[in-house]
Amino acid sequence: MIRRQFVYFSLQLKRAARYLPFIIAVTLVLCISLSLALSSLVTTDQGDVRHKKIKVATVGEFVDSYFDFGVSAIQSMDSSRFAIEILDMTEEEAADALKRGEIVGYALIPSDFIIDAVSGDVGHIQFVTNNSGVDMFSLFKKEILELISCLLVESQNGVYAMEEIVFDICVDHSDVYDHMTVLSTSYVSLIFNRANALEIEVIGVGDSLSFAGYMFSGLTVLILLLCAIPCCPIFIKRDMAHSRLMNANRFSPLRQILGEYSAFLCVMLINTAILIISMTLGAGKIFNVIPDLAELTNTEIILLPLRLLPATLAITALQFLLFELTDSLIGGILLQFFAAVALAYTSGCFYPISFFPKAIQIFSKFTPSGLARAYLSSIISGADSLIYVISLIAYALALLFVTVIIRARRIRA
């Protein structure tokens, strides 16, 4: 019995091993892609591009106006290391520049805007933009435009309020416009110095993970989830005749699943080892983009795939269950991808889990992918991980149990 179990496992491993060179090559490509993605995310966040400018254009004539002061003030906005550069363009030039991606948007200022503003009628300015929806400006543009509105409008409120007060209460109105000019200038100074109102204290991440470390763990889990797809042609059973024959010869569904799953697990373990070690060495030691990884010793890095075993068990058990649910290659591949993406997304592998509503955050704590991501994060940050180990192993066993039941039903069907 044991001999036969081992023979079955080795035959399955032999089948899967034929795909291993491809899987490893693909894993290396994934590592490069992941590095690209990670470095893109991290350098954006860490502000390596120190003077990254968001370029906007203004279209319209405004000369000698209080608005001009506001625009000049905005020109030097730098509190977030994202400076907004304002360019003067014609509408045609601005539209072309927007299409080419040279500017993020342009403001169409009506010719009578200043006249209306002077008379207290602050109108609206159309701000034309694209929506790629994926970079920092796109996400925060509403907030940034709100700030620009606020700075300009509130400053003008102050200036024109002062004007009205002078006209209503002061006897001598002769120097009211001088006062307005001085006040406008001082508003510019206030805008320049508004960041001085904030006392910022950075306490550090402590035992928690940095943003870069978090995203590393998330993207690693995502790749693990996707790595089952190349194995679909091997492990999706389109015909149960062989399984039925083995079952008739007292090779039960449990033993069949154990043999097949073990082979799949071996392939995935090799894959995971290559992925984890190369990514950790690259991101942590060589390129040093993730400080949390830089703190790991080489021995810890080499042992990392072993430490990740509970997560690998749970994820591969889930993937194996998905293999068992289908008898079609198209359905199998789409199911693997869909499940990978859906679980990865709601487990905080694409966006930090804190981005999501509480309900999804709670849900992610109960998914194998969410647990795996949290477990890898805890390994990297050195936090306590025993609860994750237990949960992941329990998940793996439960999923395998379900897989055996499904196999038994398919054999009987």
């Binding site: 090559a25 977030s80 300015i125 996400l139 007060i165 996707l226 869909f338 509503p357």
Partner: protein
């Protein structure tokens, strides 16, 4: 005409075959369902970062007004009100919050001190945060836009009392009334409009949903790759042996088109139901063109790879490459030579840049021509 009818009847038969697979049908139903669920989830309390709010003196009117406005406002930032500054800092230390904004007591006095030119700028707002990240820096602008009206009013008042009038000439409340009367309609200066002419304020989309279209674009592509594997398996088992060689290219197109079409229709339904659509006809045109491009590119991949093993192996790498190089999660790095090879790149940009519809068409022509060339070479 007869050929067209034959094409469509074969298309329907192939579709019937694929739709009989329960798991495929299940996935098609799951696509719009999951987007709708995400759309519903995105309306609940969520934020890109979490900021804990606390006031040293909870009865301070300015602090409590600002805290109330922040908590109840619509923002990408999730605000959590705490009972005390210590609680707020604890949330940051335990990573439950990314930062904490602590409002001091006597806000009015602190603001007045700050705007007073005669004194140094006094930092009065305490911000405690875990990291010095871009998101948190952008969040400071949110705080600035909340504080600035008070700073502006205080500055105006300060100027008037320093240069023009005294408190007996005009009270602070009266100055506030004048100030508030200038812009009774609110402080929104900008109306955001997309280049396509759509009013951005109407079609504003939640950040949680923003990658949905891109992910569905990848799923459609995967449908095409899976169809390519299906075709290869059937070809190996001799399904096409009875068909004339000259017609096999057309049959291959149908094979790929069936799976891609089904996934595309499910994705279109998801886009419409999830509120992601810019306009129905435009979405339909874009997704149909994208479908054609995907069929062409998957056919070319199949002819180049020529084995299910290779096709299955490249699928995850291709998925990640598309996720990185197409505008799905991040503003993609410019590696145009690779990006031009990926159908989702054209499709995702075409939603807001109509000229990309033309580029999809050109891409399709190129991939079909290349596929046909490789097919003819292999047939020899």
């Amino acid at each position: 005409m007869k050929k067209i009818i034959t094409f469509f009847s074969r298309f329907l038969i192939l579709n019937k075959r694929i739709l009989k697979k329960k798991i495929f049908l299940f996935i098609l139903l799951l696509i719009p369902l999951s987007v709708v669920c995400l759309a519903i989830a995105s309306t609940s309390d969520a934020g890109i970062i979490t900021i804990a709010l606390a006031a040293e003196d909870i009865s301070d009117p300015i602090a409590s007004e600002i805290i109330n406005d922040l908590e109840n406002g619509d923002s990408l930032i999730r605000f959590v009100v705490t009972d005390s500054p210590d609680d707020a800092v604890s949330l940051v230390e335990s990573a439950e919050a990314d930062g904490a904004w602590i409002f001091p007591e006597n806000m009015k006095e602190k603001i007045a001190e700050f705007v007073d030119f005669s004194s140094e700028r006094n930092r009065f707002m305490l911000i405690v945060q875990r990291e010095d990240s871009v998101l948190l820096k952008l969040s400071h602008e949110k705080l600035n836009s909340t504080l600035y009206p008070y700073l502006s009013l205080a500055h105006c008042e300060d100027y008037i009392y320093d240069n023009l009038l005294t408190t007996s000439d005009i009270s602070s409340e009266a100055i506030k009334q004048y100030y508030d009367s200038i812009d009774a309609e609110g402080a929104d200066l900008f109306d955001m409009v997309y280049a396509s002419g759509v009013n951005a304020n109407d079609s504003e989309q939640n950040y949680l949903l923003s990658p949905a279209r891109g992910l569905m674009a990848i799923l459609i592509m995967l449908g095409g790759l899976a169809a390519a594997m299906f075709y290869t398996s059937d070809e190996a088992s001799g399904v096409f042996d009875r068909m004339p060689r000259g017609r096999r290219f057309a049959i291959a197109i149908e094979y790929h088109a069936v799976a891609v079409f089904d996934v595309a229709i499910a994705s279109l339904a998801a886009i419409l139901l999830g509120g992601l659509s810019v306009s129905f006809l435009y979405e339909l045109a874009a997704i149909m063109l994208y479908m054609i491009a995907v069929v062409g590119s998957c056919m070319l991949l199949r002819l180049i790879c020529h084995s299910n093993r290779l096709l299955a192996s490249i699928t995850p790498a291709l998925s990640i490459i598309m996720a990185v190089l197409c505008p799905i999660f991040i503003a993609p790095p410019k590696i145009l030579i690779l990006q031009y090879l990926l159908p989702p790149y054209y499709y995702l940009y075409s939603i807001y840049k109509p000229e990309f519809l033309g580029y999809i068409a050109i891409y399709s022509v190129i991939t079909y021509a290349a596929s046909y060339l490789v097919y003819r070479l292999r047939s020899r």
